[in-house]
């Protein structure tokens, strides 16, 4: 900023920076709180007596003899199979991104480059589809699966996939 007219007054800079700092605290606060709490025992993090227990780890000290504990992580990863969820999530994320990006790029290019009337209507249709709450389709997805199961097809697919 070499232009003198672009230089900002000190008070404005303070207000602007102060606002961003405040926002950062609001945005990151819950995560830092959870990160801190994740190293405490449950009795501290959900303390019924006093929320400051989560800060000072009173119960953590009593139960584990240490200020910090990694019991929570052991519970999540080992006892509750967090790793399996990670694998499932990764499969869903990778395939969704690849498929939707491929189809979306092709379709988006076509829509952007053409001025036909019908391309507008396809765009509108896509917008309305995008707007539908995801859960509205759930009961619709269940019906075909009922039918498929009813026809014994699902058992067939299960069989043929299972045997390979």
């Amino acid at each position: 900023m070499t232009n003198p007219a672009q230089r900002r007054s000190t008070s404005l800079a303070i207000i602007s920076t102060g606002f961003v700092v405040l926002w950062l605290m609001v945005a990151a606060g819950p995560f830092l709180w959870t990160l801190w709490g994740s190293f405490k025992v449950q009795g501290d993090f959900f303390s019924k007596a006093d929320w400051t227990n989560a800060l000072y780890g009173v119960r953590t000290m009593v139960e584990t003899g240490d200020f910090f504990t990694t019991n929570g992580y052991y519970g999540a990863w080992v006892e509750h199979g967090f790793g399996e969820s990670v694998i499932n999530t990764t499969i869903v994320v990778v395939s969704t991104v690849i498929i939707s990006l491929t189809l979306g790029t092709l379709g988006g290019y076509a829509l952007a480059r053409s001025g036909f009337k019908y391309s507008f209507w396809i765009l509108m249709l896509a917008l309305v589809f995008r707007a539908m709450p995801h859960i509205t389709l759930v009961s619709g997805y269940l019906l075909p699966f009922f039918r498929v199961e009813y026809l014994g097809l699902l058992a067939y697919f299960n069989y043929s996939f299972g045997s390979h």
Binding site: A13, S16, W23, A27, F46, F116, M124, A131, P133, L137
Partner: protein
């Protein structure tokens, strides 16, 4: 672009849309016109030493068989749409006749599940959306003015509320606003009222959900505005400065008009996303004070006897609601498109 080329480019997306959205919508419509089979009853006469008694029992085997043979249930026409759990025409009519003034009528209306959910969904959508746009623009302007080294980390932290799954984000907040949690206890201390609970009062619950919604969505509008700010032409800004515009005037008359298409885009996305609010209501367990249309569907599908017909009817009403909500934007896009069409 020739029709042929257009066709080949669009066909994969179009096929996916038809297969995964249009056909299921047809399926939802079909489902919404049906209702689950009632239990098959057998009545028989049971005669003992003290006379005969008429006994009715449920024929479990026949019920299961019937439900397996006709998984759709029985046809019920538009019953699903008009019954008490949806549009509730009868109840609304009664409430209208039996109320002295409009206030009482609205109160009765909001006791019906569908209208209760609709009220919260619309309030949430129309309060969160403008706040998100204004807050996002303010953050973007603030971050844009930061020194270069601070921008990267600031943007990363700013995106946190959006990156985290809504279910987890709202759960974290839910723990914090608990009477014994950090925010809940602080508010009790601040107002000097140990009995104050954010979860107990409907008004406070609504506010809490809305504040959560703003917190969650602000990063989205921030990042879009921030990207837009990078492309505001420096020449125009400089010209405005030479003409004597102060900082505020430059924002008001150069930056904001330049951001207008982005405002429309964010508004469109936010209207869609806020209308489907579900996770915070599940995480905050706020169904006593606030429900949403998505939540009603979710409840129908997860209850002990899954009410597919009822869920499908609510789904259809929700889709119609979204379409109505989008009409002004669609109309606007149509006008812009007609202007540029060949």
């Amino acid at each position: 672009m020739p029709h042929r080329t257009f066709f080949w480019f669009i066909i994969p997306s179009l096929a996916a849309m038809i297969l995964f959205i249009a056909l299921p919508v047809i399926s939802v419509i079909t489902q919404s016109l049906h209702v689950e089979h009632e239990k098959v009853l057998i009545s028989s006469e049971n005669c003992g030493p003290f006379g005969c008694k008429q006994v009715t029992i449920v024929d479990v085997a026949a019920t299961t068989q019937l439900r397996a043979d006709q998984p759709l249930g029985q046809f019920s026409g538009f019953d699903n749409y008009t019954n008490r759990n949806h549009l509730a025409f009868d109840e609304v009519g009664l409430a209208w006749e039996g109320s002295e003034n409009i206030g009482i009528f609205i109160k009765k209306l909001l006791n019906l599940p569908f209208y209760k959910a609709l009220a919260f969904t619309l309030t949430y959508t129309f309060v969160v959306t403008p706040f998100v746009i204004v807050l996002g623009l303010a953050i973007a302007l603030g971050v844009n003015a930061l020194p270069k080294f601070a921008k990267g980390p600031t943007i990363f932290v700013s995106l946190l509320p959006m990156i985290v799954t809504p279910l987890i984000g709202s759960l974290i907040l839910f723990w914090m606003i608990d009477g014994e949690g950090i925010i809940g206890a602080s508010i009790q201390y601040l107002f000097n009222d140990p009995g104050l609970s954010l979860k107990a009062s409907p008004a406070l619950t609504w506010m809490m959900l809305i504040v959560y919604g703003i917190w969650h969505s602000a990063p989205f509008s921030f990042i879009v505005f921030y990207a837009g700010l990078q492309t505001v032409p420096a020449d125009t800004l400089e010209a405005a400065t030479i003409d004597g515009a102060n900082r505020w005037q430059r924002i008001r008359y150069v930056v904001v008009p330049y951001m207008k298409p982005l405002v429309v885009f964010i508004m469109l996305m936010q209207l869609m996303d806020n209308f489907r609010v579900l996770e915070p209501i599940v995480s905050f367990a706020s169904e006593a004070s606030a429900t949403s249309l998505s939540w009603i569907i979710y409840k129908d599908l997860t209850s002990d006897t899954q009410l597919f017909g009822s869920a499908a009817a609510t789904s259809m009403l929700t889709i119609i609601g979204v379409a109505i909500l989008l009409l002004p934007v669609l109309f606007r896009t149509w006008r812009d498109f007609s202007r540029t069409a060949h």
